[in-house]
Assembly symmetry: none
């Protein structure tokens, strides 16, 4: 295989190598690869591989050789510290036929650190202020180990420290500006995330099959999380206005087909957040009475800053007694219909709304499992929503999988039911 | 390079390949690699590489070829779903010169799922119930896509689904027993997990410094999660009795130093689970009145199967009005002392206990942020616990970091307070 010259590269290919036996033992999650991948996507640099290798010089060097055959940009993270295991800098320098040299600024910082903290500096600490000869030092604002940015004719190597608290600022403040300066890209990536509830990934993809299959620019990337699916639309463009227009046109075609399930935009959004925002806009309030979900709906409301404007509080009524006592529902009524029933769900919603004096009252009652209840199978859930002048709607669901999934599905379904009702009543 | 025969392998080498462009875009963290690495370490199988590759058939097949030169066990995860991108099964089958065949059990489950949930099955769903011809199907208890365990003379391939909620049970319940059966090892790893609350990882490690530094067999691996630290003690032995004795002796030395913070054993344990078990043993019950935590304490109780024996229900009292109305606390009292106060916390706990008729009543009130409240800084939390004959204890805390962390810390602190009180009053 041939290596690709960096300077000829129209579009840089990259890969990320994380070094550390603790990763291979499953003691640490490789969040550095996730962070760096996101950053590189943002720069329009494709990431083709993420690899984790242990603190072993032979395997690390083999991996660097392999990486050189398939990527122009190689980011190595971890193994810059002072211990025996920390061999990334040494192995990379040897591979490149370079020495490690002391960096004056880094060395001064090291001395100051040990003076200030009155700790004893050991000889191996000196490794931390070394960089690869001929490389650009990457100062470490939040730690001691220096990084290196090293460029050859064919490749760029960036060495970063392992702790995320050091790696992140070093990449954002030091390495990223160097990449942008040395490899300026006229093309930018612009993306937009559409969020859907109530449609599975496979059905969403089927509905959009032709759009997804013919995607070139913009691209469409579906992603399924528990109880929701997102679509990331990404356009590569030199012209931001034209790029945004292309995204808008694609979004319109998607909304025509599956807009029924669309609830919001953005990476940092959620169904509870959208519902709280809708209620805020309308100056409306919500309460809840929760049986099987046991407070999970209200806790999800509580996650949203500023929720106090729309949520004064509510009830967890797990037993028949608390349904009767807290919500002042007639005990005989509950015994007659059972607690996993439409009648019970509706009374819970109506009474919660009345007692809290809110615009909406939602209730959840059902069978979270592992055992069935009142002869009803695990996963059976009634959700009711009271609003307006004693009005109430209710719906029976049958959720699958385990206890945690059933409870989470019920909560999300409750948020969607509420969202649709709020939108209906302008 | 030569491939290594599986049957000759004294000690199996393995690697983990995660397939998914969403991982290379930094949209998802590769927690599967962490989980599988931990499991394999536990089985005494060395993991040499973790690799992430995108949804690209050529690169995936190249990677499988490479993996075969360096590992006997190759675990592939992700890409078993119903969409175009999901190509792991197809690429692996083609590489092995095998067909994909429908698995009858898996197919039946698929049909039942779509019947029960009344959702429309599309043709691409059929991919999910296929396995590689000649392989052992790995049923998916929590989802639809089947896994495959495939063995050749030289290698073992295990294909697992991408969602952690499906991958974990499939590995533990299906793949792991197959590995143990087919590759029995004379030496066993026996491990024991000790769980601690209320002590940070660095302090725990400092207290046990000499034990950790001299560890050989058994080993001590500390692991920090939000609001708790676990220690995994692992011994490698041919003699189960001697191994257990060694673990016990090490545990005693650890308990002498940090037993104050120890709350339980095991991987699948949690502080809420331990508390629910303690209450069950004692036939005691708990209720809660939650302000800043807004139901999160009760939702955590609700996570535990069988919690109805100890938890009848409780209150979310986010506003001053609901504190006054739901808990029948005098409004003027709340206005006088403020809602972020010892007085308010104690009244909330006492009144919740009285209204629910439980043995214990716990309350949470404080400032989750982002803004301060009643002149009190973000992170200020009062927790009170009512019990016995109108008795109440209360404590002020100051938690750090963001809204989510403050609320989670408060909930965990509440469970620890309750645990200590339950243990005190035999």
């Amino acid at each position: 295989m041939q290596t690709v010259k960096v300077k000829e590269a129209i579009k840089m290919k990259s890969e990320i190598i994380a070094v550390g036996t603790e990763l291979l033992l499953g003691q640490v999650v490789n969040t550095n690869a996730t962070f760096l991948s996101e950053q590189l996507a943002d720069l329009g640099i494709d990431v083709y591989y993420q690899t984790v290798v242990g603190d072993n010089p032979t395997r690390l060097e083999e991996l660097i050789q392999l990486a050189e055959t398939r990527s122009e940009l190689i980011i190595l993270c971890g193994g810059l510290g002072p211990t025996e295991d920390d061999l990334t800098k040494e192995v990379t320098a040897k591979h490149l036929g370079r020495e490690l040299i002391q960096n004056t600024e880094g060395y001064k910082k090291l001395l100051t650190f040990f003076e200030t903290t009155k700790r004893k500096m050991t000889e191996n600490n000196l490794q931390q202020s070394q960089i690869i000869e001929g490389g650009i030092p990457l100062p470490n604002r939040t730690g001691l180990a220096l990084g290196t940015f090293f460029q050859t004719e064919d490749h760029v190597y960036i060495l970063l420290p392992g702790p995320p608290s050091e790696l992140k600022p070093m990449f954002i403040e030091q390495a990223r500006p160097l990449l942008e300066e040395k490899f300026p890209s006229e093309e930018k990536l612009i993306s937009k995330v559409l969020r859907f509830y109530g449609i599975g990934e496979s059905r969403l993809v089927t509905e959009l099959k032709d759009l997804i299959e013919t995607q070139i620019n913009p691209t469409i990337a579906p992603y399924a999380k528990p109880n929701e699916v997102t679509l990331r639309l990404t356009v590569k463009t030199k012209d931001a206005h034209a790029g945004n227009q292309a995204l808008l046109a694609l979004e319109e075609r998607i909304q025509e087909r599956v807009g029924e399930y669309f609830y919001g935009y953005g990476d940092d959004n959620s169904l509870p957040k959208v519902v709280v925002d809708l209620l805020k806009e309308r100056n409306q309030t919500i309460t809840a009475a929760e049986s099987l979900t046991a407070g999970a709906f209200q806790a999800a409301l509580g996650d949203i800053p500023g929720v106090s404007a729309v949520f004064p509080g509510g009830f967890t009524t797990y037993s028949l007694e608390t349904k009767a006592n807290f919500l002042t529902i007639d005990r005989h009524f509950l015994e007659k219909y059972g607690t996993v029933s439409q009648e019970c769900a509706e009374q819970m919603a109506l009474q919660a709304r009345k007692l809290a004096g809110t615009d909406y009252g939602i209730s959840f009652t059902g069978v979270a499992g592992p055992d069935e209840l009142e002869g009803q199978p695990v996963g059976t859930v009634w959700i009711a929503l009271a609003y307006g002048d004693e009005a109430v709607i209710s719906q029976k669901y049958r959720f699958t999988r385990d206890r945690a999934a059933i409870r989470h599905s019920a909560v999300m379904q409750g948020f969607d039911l509420l969202r649709r009702q709020v939108l209906r009543k302008k």
